[in-house]
Amino acid sequence: MAAIGLLNPKAEYVRTAQALALNITAAKGLQDVMKSNLGPKGTMKMLVSGSGDIRITKDGNILLHDMQIQHPTASLIARACTAMDDVTGDGTTSMVLLIAELMKQADSYLSEGVHPRAITEGFKIARNMSLELLEKLKIPVTPTKEALLPVAKTSLRTKLAPKLADHLTDICVEAVLSIYNPAKPENDIDLHMVEIMTMQHKTESESRLVKGLVLDHGSRHPNMPKRVENAYILTCNVSLEYEKTEVNSGFFYNTADQRDKMAKAEREFIELRVKKIIELKKKVCNGTDKGFVVINQKGIDPISLDMLAREGIMALRRAKRRNMERLTLACGGVAMNTVDDLTESCLGYAGKVYEHVLGENKYTFVVDCAKPLSVTILINGPAQYAVKQIQDAIRDGLRSVKNAITDGAILPGAGATELALHQHLLKFLENPSSATEMGVKGRFRVGVKAFADALLIIPKILAINGGHDPQEAITELETESKLSGSSVIGFDINTGHPVNTIDNEIIDNYCVKRQYLSSSNIIASNLLLVDEVMRAGLSSLKQ
């Protein structure tokens, strides 16, 4: 009887073999759910909520989030895997599969009486060797469009229908390259500078990259110009809205007349601000063919809008906070917090600013900028769920391109890396010196073996999802890889035969692989070492 049973008779607990079984079942269960997602031939999932909302996805991360997992072990695995996605933007499904496979492989040894510790130690050795080998396997890339296209393509094809994916590939790479600034320290790429804007059309039209900014609102005055060319852009964060006086408790005025006067003074104060903007417009635009656009983070009231409209100024109010930064990156200029000392140098420039109306939504395009360091991906889709699906995929695509640039390297995809690691580990075990020189004692070898075998789950599942026989595929792969001695042999999902992945442009991220190899090992080891699971105190694990 477990000690907790003495202290708390209500506690539920399971021990040793049972506890292990509990964990392994959970991992296997997750694997079953997720395995059909892997690769370009994985099936699309439609999640239907009770209220009739649907979500279309193939992304393991989204599925794990939306599946409301109850089993404690499963939710532990799920959380670790989604954390992985937060860091690298990909690899959730692979990680779930690998964790479960590691546990499955370990299970067969455990049932033969091997101590879990021996296996986890073996895992640790295998992981360290794998990570070392990854360094050798990785292929350096330069941040050029040609080199990055395969990376984005591989990522997007696993999330979307092929035709759509190919269309978006170019967009993702272009977007990241436009905001990429090699001069910046640490190759820091801020993906926030790629705005993703969605539009829902009844008739389908294609998504595209806008080299500039698309704002999700328009001018709110009927007489304002809807289209301005050669536009100066004033980005500011100044309230142009009449607000009640600061002091309202009646101490500072005695009569209604006095109060009116104060209100009027306040009104004039706002008017003065507007006049200053108009003054600047006159100074820079008069006598030229240039236009003037004001984009304000704060409000602009109808009277101020009217004054601006009369001068032919297009004014947008309540811009997103983040857009203020994007605007200055896209158009140049400085975001102003006051209108007191406005000069021409504060202004940005855009070739075209125009409004686009779609149903009740207005969009403002700020385009034709000289050298935009912030761009917008405009997603068009026939329905909300389709838009959302593309949005998720694009986010992952952008991340994969960013990863490739920051890593400066890539790895072969389609199971090639896993296969190469598998072969390497087996070779190591065969080598008689491994036992003595490397200090891998006999009993840890099973762990290394289990790890090596578990890695093959990736090409196996790829084969299954492609409608091929997994055993046949693996055998063929192993032979081909041994014969050629190449480390870039992967599984071609269309033909079911081995293929050179680099030539076929199937590329994975280095950091994703690295992360998933080390994290899955840790999670699996921890779960294997659990010998008691108890539940006490919490009345329910649900909230």
């Binding site: 999932k45 279309i56 409301q68 607000e243 409000g299 009231d301 026939p382 909230q543």
Partner: protein
């Protein structure tokens, strides 16, 4: 787009405030009059926005931002409508250009309640060619037992009104035990913050000049922290707009004996204290709501509101009374007759120095049909039932803003603190059956949609009795040795922060002292 520029945006945090909000907007919905002979005296554009739906239809939806758990929306879909059918699989396949789509159903579709079944029948009947007066199908009242606030709604929301807290941020949380710090963290996570900010901006953008905000929040759990952060955001973005915050207390009891119960009580107290002191800094008026007379003790005593018979523990029933209160308190700045009255006037009227906390009192329904005495006599004869715990509002009301509905305003002298509207309060169909029928004054001759109607009186009062609320809160907190409570300290609430807010609360309490009032 209204030309008046008096829009109000409502922000609701948590299920109970959403319940109140659902009843509140139902009350508005019931007030719409399509009969030109009986125009409503309420300017509906204050609370509602015109728009077009995806399908191009005209929509009139509340200027509202709802915050709740994803799973609490229950029957309400992200499109803002109740009981939506999922799209056909074939359509989905075409839209995503994929031949194979696997359907995963996370939970069965919730069952429709009696009201929604009748609505479905009605719309079916309306589709038929030879449809008669279809309104006949709907009953005047439905006493529901809803699973969620969404089932109570009689109107559609705008899809941009819904901000759900993603499940991954809430998994494993037990709402009643969450702290304000947890709320603050959720607020900061980009998957929540971006959506919320976008939704508020969307509502703001569709206003000419916002006059202010109603912020309804649960104040005893993590929503306390979220609401504080939200107030900060609004202040930052919209400067000096009026903000009325309504902290709403939980209806549930604590188990006073168990350790768990005591811990939970302490959590509630701390969250409330933090919420109160932040609200005091950032809002213009704060009106705490509860149907309970006392809080934080064994056994609940619910106010009986003179004429109502209701189950206080039921969120559906309790929230309906709070909603009626809010409807009355917010009437003055929504009246068509008084275009110049804005929220800021009420704030100026009630805000005594240092005293932003006000108590709301109602006489709902108003028991008499005729008034043949003056307003002072009226207030003397009909004492308010208080919506503010610990404060009885019977005497010593230093300032008050009075709303009277169902009587002609010519009967009373004009006063900047008295707002009379000839319209009765029209009770929506899904309002619980807690009003005895003798108070129903609906007149079939004036019929424009069969609904219950009552007259009502309310007052938002700055009373020196508010002191009791603060004294109790601070006293209970001081009785705990909060320096030694690891749960809070680890969730990055500094003991100093709590000490600070206790001092703020002390100050607020002191400003309600009689000697402070000249």
């Amino acid at each position: 787009m209204s030309a008046t520029g008096k829009e109000i945006i409502t922000v609701q945090f948590g299920s109970l405030p959403n319940h109140v909000g659902a009843h509140y907007f139902n009350l508005q919905n019931a007030n719409f009059s399509f009969n030109p002979d009986f125009p409503s005296d309420i300017n509906h554009d204050v609370l509602f926005r015109e728009g077009t739906s995806e399908a191009g239809a005209f929509t009139y939806t509340p200027r509202l931002v709802v915050v709740d758990f994803e799973q609490s929306l229950h029957s309400l879909s992200k499109t803002g409508r109740n009981f939506v059918k999922a799209p056909q699989l074939e359509d989905v396949k075409r839209a995503v250009q994929s031949d194979e789509v696997e359907v995963l159903r996370s939970e069965p579709a919730p069952e429709k309640n009696e009201y929604h079944e009748d609505v479905a029948k009605q719309s079916e009947a309306a589709d038929k060619e030879d449809s008669m007066d279809v309104d006949v199908l709907l009953k005047t009242k439905y006493n529901l037992n809803p699973n969620s606030w969404s089932e109570v709604l009689t109107l559609d929301l705008h899809p941009r009104s819904l901000t759900t807290i993603p499940t991954q941020l809430t998994s494993g949380l037990e709402l009643a035990k969450t702290t304000a710090a947890v709320g603050g963290q959720i607020w900061k996570s980009p998957s929540f913050a971006d959506e919320f900010e976008d939704n508020v901006r969307f509502q703001l953008e569709s206003c000419d000049i916002v006059q202010g905000f109603h912020v309804l929040t649960e104040c005893e759990n993590m929503y306390a922290g979220m609401a504080s952060a939200c107030l900060e955001y609004i202040r930052d973005e919209c400067g000096k707009k009026s903000i009325i915050t309504v902290p709403i207390f939980s209806l549930q009891d604590y188990e006073m004996n168990a350790i768990e119960g005591r811990k939970q009580l302490f959590t509630s107290l701390v969250n409330t204290a933090l919420n109160f002191s932040r609200s005091n800094d950032l809002s213009d008026l704060v009106a705490p709501f509860s149907t309970r007379v006392n809080l934080w003790t064994d056994g609940a005593t619910f106010n009986n509101f003179n004429n109502l018979s209701f189950d206080g523990y039921s969120a559906y029933q309790s929230s309906s009374i709070m909603a009626a209160g809010l409807e009355l308190f917010s009437t003055p700045y929504r009246l068509k007759r008084l275009l110049d009255v804005k929220m800021s006037n009420i704030v100026a009227l009630l805000g005594l120095p240092g005293r932003k906390f006000v108590g709301g009192g109602v006489v709902f329904p108003f028991p008499e049909r005729k008034i043949d005495y003056d307003i002072l006599e009226l207030l003397k004869r009909h004492k308010y039932s208080s919506l503010c715990p610990f404060v009885d509002l019977e005497n010593t009301l230093d300032v008050q803003a009075v709303t009277l509905k169902g009587f002609r305003h010519e009967m009373f002298p004009t006063s900047p603190a008295l707002f009379v509207s000839p319209m009765n309060v029209r009770i929506p169909r899904t309002f619980p059956d807690i009003i005895s029928s003798e108070h129903d004054v609906s007149n079939s001759a004036l019929y424009y949609g069969r609904l219950r109607e009552v007259t009502a009186l309310s007052g938002l009062c700055n009373s020196r009795e508010m002191k009791t609320l603060f004294e109790t809160l601070v006293g209970k907190l001081r009785a705990h040795n909060y320096h030694k409570l690891p749960g809070f300290i680890s969730n990055d609430l500094e003991a100093a922060e709590l000490t600070d807010s206790l001092e703020t609360l002390d100050d607020i309490g002191a400003s309600y002292d009689i000697s402070m009032f000249l």
